[in-house]
Symmetry: C2
Subunit: 403 residues, 2 copies
């Protein structure tokens, strides 16, 4: 058992929404919370100072990228991830399992995020793009074989190796290696995959021997029996925390169903992390169903693509609470990104200036938009926590126009 | 006459080095000082918060770029440059004259900075590169004709238009339109050009009617008689400030000579701005000869190319006080960029981390390296001011290994 303490501090009566206090080695997190993603040991375009200002409580880094560059041994020699990236608060790492999906089946099925588009700087390097698209991952009972996006070298990740690497990286909360199946995988494939994922979960648990908290991952695709089986099995093991992995079906309704199937089988006293979800509507729906933790690259990825988030009424379900700041209609708009927002960017800068920075390819554009977007999500989570503590979560959800 | 007050506060005995207090509409600047360049209304990769933390006293923006994007009228409608970019301290703009050189003769002669290399983001866009290389500028007695780097549209800048645009942009200190000749221009060309530059200087002075301070520019290439003539002429006109423009000859010795020719003819009570110079050695040599103000894109441009500055002994004249942080030798180096540096980046981050950020194309790399480099130069200027006030400038110069 790793170091993790979790206490539910308030619960809604008409739904499963709850607030909690999560203690990890590097500090305390109020839940529900969204963790900004620091893929390569940096939340893209933001400094750790920015993240401290934003009161980010917990970040999550990417094992697949860091094992390749700068390498887990390098990070270990430099004192671990917290020291390496100068982040003094809690830190999580994923297991590399998601990349088995996004570089493997996700790519083949055209459903992986990476297969669709590459916003931000790296996308402008045609070499990187070509290499990534040629890369694949394949999975066997032993582990996941990757081609490195950096040098196309062959990489093999086993459950044990994923844990050892995450131990070297040294985050407070780590994840077991799993397979994230595709929404296009059939039931037979998903069932087989789930059995393997369960074997790997147990193996990771047995192998792991540091005080890092370890989370098991529930899979099972879009099938009720598989999801229930997985929820029961993962809940039965002595994990510190429980994560719910995708694919979460093809539609939003699928995601709701999956959460409804899974939640009754999870213990009250362990935090629940819905992996990779970060659309406003989904966050409300998932919190309503009892989710405590989220992680998503959306806020910063969208920022780099020129999308900024905004609260109701300007933001709504239809526009996904965001708009494109690069549009010419903001060229002489002296108002802030979001009139209701109290972040530094909205206090200091106009839409016109940010529009100009984007249209001039100025690096500051990415910083300002990322800062605002992360603030938007962390502030949303804060509002959600406050609402739950006052028994007003469903009222808040309604105010945001989410049915 | 615009709003500018300048007072010399200390003078060295064995050279022309001096400290001063320069008052502009938005505040007070201690000289000698280097102004970070905010080409397109942003110092690349830095926020105005960063620049406030760094105690930057004065920034300079680029008229050529801003007249094209977002346009001087847009900036004016949005309340002027200070408000547009949320910079509350003094601001300068250049006249567009330097671009006549860098996009015209500089390009043809292969001596312009822009003809040589394009570090940073924009360089990675092959379209931008192609367009810039095809663009040219040509000069006549009426003004400078440019091709826009953005859309290849024809642009015409006259002395009057440059002043009007700079009035719309609204900086505290503005510059007359001049022609910056190439080091390869012959004496006949330079003499003719100088006469035109002088006519334009007078025209700008007569046209200008706001409280923005106006600086005249001394040209004359590498010829003693032309430089002396220009110094005397510009000094004879009621400019608020005096700038010395390049080309400053072909060698460092040429630059020293030019400053030695010019300085005796300049009034004590006006600030002297050496345009576009920002190499450590040159700063010492120019301060020694009586220069008060510098501006240079070097600190941030070098940062984006992966070069970081460092103080003696690690930094020296031979390595130009910088080294390449992207080198593999820094991969597991847990020391800061510069052991003697007290900036936020050196306090918080290792060479290894910054090396990783650069090698991973992470945007934070540009911010951290730019922050350190600007700190390096502003701190150097602070040390220079302190040394002069204590009569120890030549001692400091020697400590930096500059003969």
């Amino acid at each position: 058992m790793g170091y993790l303490k979790f206490k539910v501090t308030a619960k809604e009566k008409k739904c499963r929404a709850r607030t909690g206090i999560l203690r990890l080695r590097h500090g305390t997190i109020k839940t529900p919370e969204l963790m900004p993603v620091a893929t390569k040991a940096t939340v893209k375009a933001l400094s750790t100072e920015d993240l401290n200002e934003l009161n980010a409580q917990l970040l999550i880094c990417n094992t697949y990228h860091l094992m390749l560059k700068p390498g887990a041994e390098t990070v270990e020699k430099l004192g671990g991830l917290n020291k390496f990236m100068n982040w003094k608060k809690p830190l999580a790492t994923d297991s590399g399992g998601f990349q088995a999906f996004s570089l493997g089946l996700g790519m083949e099925h055209g459903t992986g995020k990476m297969a669709k588009y590459f916003p931000g700087k790296s996308s402008q390097n045609p070499d990187t793009k070509r290499r990534i698209q040629k890369s694949t991952a394949s999975i066997s009972d032993k582990g996941i074989e990757f081609r490195s996006v950096y040098d196309n070298s062959r990489q093999f990740l086993t459950p044990e190796k994923s844990i050892r690497i995450q131990e070297q990286l040294g985050a407070d909360l780590i994840l077991v290696l799993d397979e994230c199946t595709s929404p296009l995988s059939d039931k037979a494939y998903t069932k087989n995959s789930l059995e393997r994922t369960h074997r790997w979960a147990k193996e990771c648990l047995e192998i792991h021997n540091t005080d890092q908290a370890l989370a098991g991952i529930i899979q099972g695709g879009q099938w009720k029996d598989l999801r229930e089986k997985s929820a029961k099995y993962i809940a039965s093991l002595p994990f510190d925390s429980i994560a719910i992995g995708g694919s979460l079906g093809k539609t939003k309704a699928d995601m709701h169903k999956i959460l409804d199937w899974v939640m009754p089988h999870l213990p009250e006293n362990k935090p629940r992390h819905l992996l990779g979800i970060g659309v406003v509507e989904d966050i409300f729906e998932a919190v309503e169903r009892g989710v405590d933790l989220f992680d998503c690259v959306g806020p910063t990825r969208m920022a780099r693509a020129g999308y900024v988030y905004t609260t109701p009424k300007e933001g709504n379900v239809k526009n996904k609470f965001k708009y494109k700041i690069t549009s010419s209609k903001y060229k002489i708009d002296s108002s802030p990104i979001d009139k209701n927002c109290k972040c530094k960017v909205c206090k200091n800068h106009s839409r016109a200036y940010i529009n100009h920075l984007f249209n001039s390819n100025e690096l500051l554009a990415y910083n300002l938009a990322s800062y605002h977007n992360v603030h938007f999500f962390l502030n949303l989570m804060k509002d959600i926590r406050k609402a739950i503590s006052e028994g007003k979560f469903l009222k808040l959800k309604k105010e945001w126009g989410i049915k």
